[in-house]
Symmetry: C2
Subunit: 723 residues, 2 copies
Amino acid sequence: MRGNGEAMPKHEAMPKHKAAVRKVLDRVKADKRSALTAPEGKLICEAYGISVPKEGLATSAAAAAKLARKIGFPVVLKIVSPDILHKTEAGGVIVGVKTPQEAQKAYRTIVANAKKYNRKAKIEGVQVQQMVGGGQEVIVGAVTDPSFGKLVAFGMGGILVEVLKDVTFRLAPVTRDEALGMLDGIKAAEILKGVRGGEAINRAALAGLIENVAKLIADFPEIVEMDLNPIFASKKGAVAADVRIILDWKPPLQRYRPSQDEILRAMNRIMRPKSVAVIGASAEDGKIGNSVMKNLINGGYQGQIVPIHPSAGEIMGRKAYKSVKDVPGEIDVAVFCIPAKFVAGALIEVGEKKIPGAVLIPSGFAETGNVAGQKEIQEIGRKYNVRLMGPNIYGYYYTPMNLCATFCTPYDYKGAAALSSQSGGIGMAIIGFSRSAKMGVSAIVGLGNKCDLDEDDLLTFFEQDDNTQVIAMHLEDLKDGRSFAEVAKRVSKKKPVVVLKAGRTAAGAKAAGSHTGALAGNDKIYDDILRQSGVIRAPGLRDMLDYARGLQKLPTPKGENVVIITGAGGSGVLLSDACVDYGLNLMKMPADLDQAFRKFIPPFGAAGNPVDITGGQPPSTYANTIRLGLEEPRIHAIILGYWHTIITPPMVFAKVVVEVVEELRAKGIDKPIVASLAGDVEVEQAAEHLYDHGIPSYAYSTEIPVAVLGAKYRWARGAGLVK
Amino acid sequence: MRGNGEAMPKHEAMPKHKAAVRKVLDRVKADKRSALTAPEGKLICEAYGISVPKEGLATSAAAAAKLARKIGFPVVLKIVSPDILHKTEAGGVIVGVKTPQEAQKAYRTIVANAKKYNRKAKIEGVQVQQMVGGGQEVIVGAVTDPSFGKLVAFGMGGILVEVLKDVTFRLAPVTRDEALGMLDGIKAAEILKGVRGGEAINRAALAGLIENVAKLIADFPEIVEMDLNPIFASKKGAVAADVRIILDWKPPLQRYRPSQDEILRAMNRIMRPKSVAVIGASAEDGKIGNSVMKNLINGGYQGQIVPIHPSAGEIMGRKAYKSVKDVPGEIDVAVFCIPAKFVAGALIEVGEKKIPGAVLIPSGFAETGNVAGQKEIQEIGRKYNVRLMGPNIYGYYYTPMNLCATFCTPYDYKGAAALSSQSGGIGMAIIGFSRSAKMGVSAIVGLGNKCDLDEDDLLTFFEQDDNTQVIAMHLEDLKDGRSFAEVAKRVSKKKPVVVLKAGRTAAGAKAAGSHTGALAGNDKIYDDILRQSGVIRAPGLRDMLDYARGLQKLPTPKGENVVIITGAGGSGVLLSDACVDYGLNLMKMPADLDQAFRKFIPPFGAAGNPVDITGGQPPSTYANTIRLGLEEPRIHAIILGYWHTIITPPMVFAKVVVEVVEELRAKGIDKPIVASLAGDVEVEQAAEHLYDHGIPSYAYSTEIPVAVLGAKYRWARGAGLVK
């Protein structure tokens, strides 16, 4: 049996621990059972180094005493008899046995009681078991999620935690560091460190146990749910007092997973096409095929545009063809603007023409109940190796190519944010907000029913797309959450990935056979796995849009020290509140720096942090304190609070800030700055001016600018760019 | 001794329970102690019907057995000897005594052990005590807050709750219903109801205990902190196993509290003056005294405006006077536009002229360290009975009188929201947002240093001001939180009161002597008491502004059934998420109503709730479904999700919605409706049109409209207007 916290050997050829589990599972399978008995569960745990109470069978009082001494006191003695089901009722259990003498006596008592209870009972002996308890009760478990696959769970034990649902999930398997991170991932984490005189638990032992459970469930697909509950975690180690394992013999669905290279090859042709075919192109106003043609042409796309139409010789000045197969030369992407019933036929032609991508605007598939129709086109796509976007989408934009393959209107404000949405309505909100707020956009993509192309395909493309610096995605589900998590984990190291997960509160709960299953509210899993993948989760639509707009403007902070410089004491207080809400660290102002700030502000102003320059100050006070903040290497990010006064009107403030920031950028100093503007309506224009110059700024809000900076920090921490 | 859950008698002349406590406290005071001994604590608890373990002293084995039988088994026996401090060490404690025989034996063992331990020890006997335990461990305590005074606290016991800070506070004393509400006011509330086979506790007993603790601390100002920890709450009752009481003999500060009538008399003259004096009026551009004069005149105030100036004969066409004392006739309010150092002198003249209100714009008082100067004017105000607004403020607006007594600019969009701010910066943000969003405003008031006029004075005025329908206040502290809570509780029954409490995260924690004190993070107290007072707490500045703008538009809902009608399925999902976040109840759609909605939507659209009318629908589908929602009495509020399409463009949607809503308003049906608009930039104008017609609507956000409706519901529930 392996000890606490000892990891599994990693490179054994035919590892013994796997063979031991396989042997148990084979027997269970032969029995056509889906649940393991307690002894079977213990065997499996022991094979994977998961500590369970030590135990043995004694057939004499002397043997019981010897065994108990070997196990270590205190022990529990229990009758073992196939004829006695209710051991306690039969007087067949004695707990808290503390000496060899007591063990001998307990053995005799138990056997006598058992005989008295049922004189015909066949008595196999008495089980002597290590008595566990003390320390902290915790629970480790496993579930199988339809999207994420095998997940390991950790939480505190006891009913209180059950009520508070204080549990955390990770994709299995996990590294030791991830397992240790789980111990800090619950609200009650402090308890494990020992509070109020309680002893700290052995973290290595508990993390090792989690690691081993995760390895076990990853190694054996048929183990679908598991509970170790309770586990007694103490200074000495972590012992699982009870084990529950549920099996499912149906093999898990295999998902279509092209290699990253294959994805990239197709995505690069789809997103940066040299030639676009419009299937169902039309010269008739109001038709989707007309809107798409217009948008491609008016948007300024410089590649070849090929209308496909059953009869027209040319459409909008471009030569038209009956079929893509008639078009000479390569086509990179075909945009479908035809009714659902014609899609399958045209898609076969697209496949035969070896076009790598089909953009399926038409609705009328799974979303209207036409599941068979969707399956049909999915199979055609797979057969011909055509990647499918949609169906049921508005199309897509890729601004570096001036490409607008949608029935909406061309988007005109280029920049570094790539956005996607699963829903058309949300896509329209993205387009409207982006235009209204002049958000710099590289791409907007509709994913719709996601019969093929998914968020992870987009991530793979945007990862290597130099025109994209931040990726923001609205999604309602992930067809393959595990694949998304893997890709997102890699991509988010390079570029911020923001996710708005809709349907947070839809139960999504399938009937769960285990305790862990019951604790696994669908959203909690998304929340944990997205965080584990380095993704910034946006709480709402507007937040996602604000993050996408702001994150591309802010440079990456080099450290955690945030300073607030404010003309309004009242804003300073609210900005400080927001810093706590969004996980920002208000720098404790060193005495020398405090002195340096004080030189610029009135004697009754407060240095410290916030630096309160007071309300009636001229532009120079803002300039001086901001310059100091930027030049000082101990300060890593600045939050400005502006108060509208006659002495420093809004646009004067905005211009002076931009001046100082640009002066220092020219010297190679570029720190994240955001601003909150309090004042009459003129502050709106000032905020816009600041935003245009790389300083995310908001009128009448002390929360949004801090939320944007907070998102940047969350990303930078996850990517290991700031400690 | 009073039993569990038995309330105190209420109208005793010289109540015995008070006398008993007074006797104990007098003895402690005579001893110059500030903490009570355990027996003293028990005496006090018993006097107030707070159950503590039963106990008695036995001086023979037979007496111990008799006493134990009377108390009820199990019991604990403990040696009582002034010479034995470490009872356990001396073998002087035996727990779990279950029969009279065991009690006799335990008595003899303890006495023998004690004699063996110290043969000279004077043995007074053996204490026989009820053994408590089992059920749920909870804590009840009390603290004294500098602003709110006596507070009673309730939480779960054990370290887990300590880590999670799961505790709730109420102003003491509390009613039985409030005490019962506290049991539901913690996150782990479910546990008390019995989960996973656990027994429900006796709620009446525990609530009774809380009620009695609250009464005790309210009756005795010198009891400043109290811990009953742990209390064992079970099916049988609630017994406090340990009592800790801390006293402070300094009498609490008495605050100036004019009667509501006095407040109203002054406030009505200040807010609706017939005559305003401007002390420091000036003809010179850029001076505050000039801005105030201009704003009064240009704002269209029709009352008398009297400039006060040391030498000028007239200012801006109005006859000027050297002193308010020279002005013939009554003056209602004097606006100060002079430097701090001249304020005291001028204020005496204001007092002598019997002007009821002084608006102190000047800064240079406590906020710059001039505490003495502030105290001086405070005393003058009190002496002459002049109510003071400020100092250190921008002034105030009261739009029904076209009154703009500020150095800002006149506000032009009249309506029903009264706002106040403690900070000038936040005041400017209020003015800017209100103007930009065309928020209907009745008043904007700066409170600044609050040396006298406070939020509760404003509440008292706005309560009876027919021009005001919603009150929104930014505040950093409450000088007299108890008074605010009392007034807010009354006012919020009539009009929504929104509070943005800044400085949430400032520790504000004074060194606490008790466990309860340590749990009382300042913000948690604000949060609980504001909720208890029926106040809607805004999480941030923009939320406060959105609530103030939206709440005045929405009629009060008549029930909890909310229905979402959406053209975009994606918006429907996000709107549903938001409903959960903001505590709205998505109606479970009855079959007949489902059928009725289905008549208007395509077969693949989803009725149920959200009602998904699907994206490509004409205006009539919106009109028909919204009309049905409004006409149907089982539906109480509607959330609209709009998706921009060519078939129903934004303004067409907005106009059709307004048409239907107005058609039904004309028939006497007026339900709260909010809307979320997803689309290109034209949706902004559509949202504005909807807002102008009483339908709070937001482009590119699914959260804000639901938050506004959620705030209306929170208010309506607190005011008892919706069940």
